[in-house]
Symmetry: C2
Subunit: 219 residues, 2 copies
């Protein structure tokens, strides 16, 4: 088993045709404040890694039940799970039901917090550059994804938005935004990486839930 | 005549149904280096304002001759010209023939300098926020422009790209990028603001021309 990637919240190992994700206890934030939409490690919380894995397993299974292909295979233990290998597309595909976080910082006064959006944005996955926004024409012309793949990612992301919205609404909660990543495998696009409290914002009575509160929702 | 706007490179006055632009001698740059794509005032050059007006008059007339509606009316003197009033859309519409400037800074190593692009990008016109990139879905959902207006701005921008490309090619030069602004008047979109050496980059033998060298090209 060979270590192929060390990330902020997980390490990735390679094993035959599969990847093994090892989920770590690091907490993400923005400007030293915990924020599930944040992009910097601001501390650790015991048990966070295993909670993220439980959430990821739950949401990937929820998507698969609804006809969306993901790279999840099976859980190995509390912190590790097996995933199909896929050629990673270096984009984050963000669905924004409402305006929050970086969207508010980016556009200032022309947008009201929690203003209804229902839009998809693409960002280039590059920590050193701060995951910059990228328009669809640039995604295509830089050879990151084809026009057909862009349309397919948007179609899948809208379907996932509908599934997650219904799931949280049925529990009296409101999802504000989430991000997906995609990979190519055998000519098909799979949802890859993780889907967890670290990759979405969910609100209850005007407050964004903490990542461990997302775990309570699914248990 | 009432002063309605004081900008980095021009002041704008209102007079009956028209606007009067007064072009100033300020030079734009990025990180204290002169750059026609820059967004900060880095100094002054005597005669720059009148040169920008000559360029703007030339390019607006070139567009009008090619069937593109602009807000240019007539020159008043060396530094001033009359323009039709229009409801300004707070966007910069950028056409990139090749990768340069902020595009390179934004996407780092995944893009090669002068890589062929032929793409349109929208940025929100807001100096304090650094004119952030904005995706088409956000332009629409934030009520900045309708879907039809976005398509029309793109159609006009592609036509302007073709006109400018042919113009510079006929003089042995290569245009790298340019930006347009649009306004609404009587249910129609007009190209507004200015088109000059401050709003485009043109290359000769691998070097970007200075704004005053653009003037030499049209004279």
């Amino acid at each position: 088993m060979r270590l192929v990637y060390q990330g902020k919240t997980k390490d990735v190992y390679e094993d035959d045709d599969c990847l093994i994700f090892h989920f770590k206890d690091n907490i993400l934030g923005f400007e030293s404040k915990e924020d599930t939409g944040g992009n910097e490690v601001i501390g650790r919380r015991e048990g966070k890694g295993s909670a993220i894995l439980k959430e990821t397993e739950f949401f990937f299974k929820l998507l698969e039940e609804n006809g969306i292909r993901t790279h999840f295979v099976e859980r190995i233990n509390e912190r590790r799970a097996k995933f199909l290998k896929a050629e990673k597309i270096p984009l984050e595909v963000i669905y924004r039901f409402k305006a929050y976080g970086s969207f508010l910082r980016r556009y200032g006064k022309i947008v009201k917090p929690l203003q209804k959006l229902d839009i998809i944005e693409f960002t280039l996955k590059d920590d050193a550059l701060g995951d910059p926004l990228i328009c669809e024409e640039a995604v295509e012309k830089l050879g990151i994804a084809s026009k057909e793949e862009i349309e397919e990612m948007k179609r899948i992301t809208r379907k996932v938005a509908q599934i997650l919205k219904e799931f949280f609404e049925s529990r009296g909660l409101e999802i504000i935004d989430f991000k997906l990543e995609f990979g190519r495998r055998n000519g098909e696009l799979l949802v890859i990486d993780e889907i967890s409290g670290d990759t979405m914002r969910v609100m209850k009575e005007g407050q964004v839930l903490k990542q461990e509160e997302i775990l309570e929702v699914i248990e």
